[in-house]
């Protein structure tokens, strides 16, 4: 299966945005809002139900693809 658990996808996407943020000098990012099309599966991994949610593999939908769901997530900057 090509799809990854939600945590991995979110960490990758947010990590990429965060990398871009670190190059900024004059502007500080206070929040990040993402709306992403996702394909969702529930699978049994190591004895627990895992929420698999990843970006669609293909740009164009076919009848063999799962109906696309949508995830909107807002992150707020916080001090470490």
């Amino acid at each position: 299966m090509w799809h990854r658990p939600l945590a991995e996808m979110l960490t990758d996407v947010l990590g990429a945005v965060d990398m871009a943020r670190q190059d900024q000098i004059a502007v500080r990012t206070s929040s990040i809002e993402l709306t992403l099309p996702i394909e969702v599966f529930l699978v049994e991994l190591e004895g627990e139900t895992t929420f698999i949610a990843d970006l669609p593999v293909w740009r164009w939908r076919t009848i063999f693809d799962q109906p696309s769901s949508s995830l909107s997530i807002t992150y707020e900057a916080s001090q470490t």
Partner: protein, 271 residues
């Protein structure tokens, strides 16, 4: 790994989603710490529009993500937001449950099916005391409607849950002299009192009851009554029995520190 087409209970689905959000949060925190970043990002709000099938299987709501070609799937809108610890406390209903209280399943045994117990949980009835309270307030009809469970079945379950039940018989040592400890026994269990002190007998002979509460009875058996079949009767058809043998723990052989080697043995029956 399954093919992802299996359905799971909705609680399990939400838990799986939460686990992933926690993992993503932990990963971000570790990254910020390792890279010595002054700022990190925390999830504030999440909204999910999930194409799914909602099914009810044996009184359990289950969801199954839509598969390719499932054009008639439902759309489940789920919105999550972060709340602070004080908000959790404000919104969480105190679970006023005695940790020693048996679960509904333990108390009613096979009197109710798993499905019937699940329907009762839907109606907010998780313990015997909650079931008893419902019966006491005359809310049986409401439960019958909400949980789809006939009042007669509820009454039967309540009767089963009200049966006396003995879990343990041991020497009574609390603050007593060794002499007294050698003569007294403590019976632990539940529903041990009903309309007055219970009748206790060992091997068919009555035994003096010194004190009795719902969970504990202290008895003064005769020297020959430290083993045999103990019977506790709280009313007609309300009988609990247990075989025990504490002969080795009587007299000078009772350890001064009250070391626990006195578990009641053999079989336990409730009729």
């Amino acid at each position: 790994m399954s093919n992802g087409n299996t359905s799971v209970p909705i609680e399990q689905f939400i838990q799986a989603l939460q686990t992933q959000l926690d993992r993503a949060q932990t990963a971000m925190a570790i990254k910020a710490e390792n890279l010595d970043l002054p700022l990190t990002f925390a999830v504030k709000d999440l909204s999910l529009e999930l194409r799914t099938h909602v099914e009810v299987v044996r009184s359990e709501v289950r969801i199954r993500p839509a598969a390719p070609g499932d054009h008639d799937a439902s759309t489940l809108h789920l919105a999550l937001t972060t709340i602070t610890r004080p908000m959790i406390k404000e919104n969480a209903k105190a679970m006023n449950i005695d940790p020693d209280e048996p679960t509904l399943k333990e108390a009613v045994g096979d009197q109710l099916t798993d499905e019937e117990q699940k329907r009762l949980e839907w109606a907010g009835v998780h313990t015997v005391s909650q079931l008893r309270r419902l019966a006491g307030t005359g809310s049986g009809k409401e439960v019958e409607r909400v949980a789809d469970l006939p009042v007669d079945r509820l009454r039967q379950a309540l009767a089963r849950a009200s049966q006396p039940f003995v879990t343990r018989i041991e020497p009574h040592l609390d603050g007593e002299s060794e002499l007294n400890a050698s003569r007294l026994l403590r019976i632990r269990g539940r529903n041990l009192v009903r309309n007055g002190a219970p009748r206790v007998s060992i091997g068919g002979d009555p035994v003096g009851v010194l004190s009795a509460t719902d969970k504990e009875i202290v008895i003064a058996p005769q020297p020959h009554q430290f083993s045999g079949m103990l019977s506790v009767q709280t009313g007609p058809d309300q009988l609990a029995e247990m075989m025990f043998n504490l002969n080795q723990n009587t007299g000078a052989r009772v350890p001064e520190n009250g070391a626990d080697n006195s578990k009641a043995t053999d079989k336990e029956t409730t009729s």
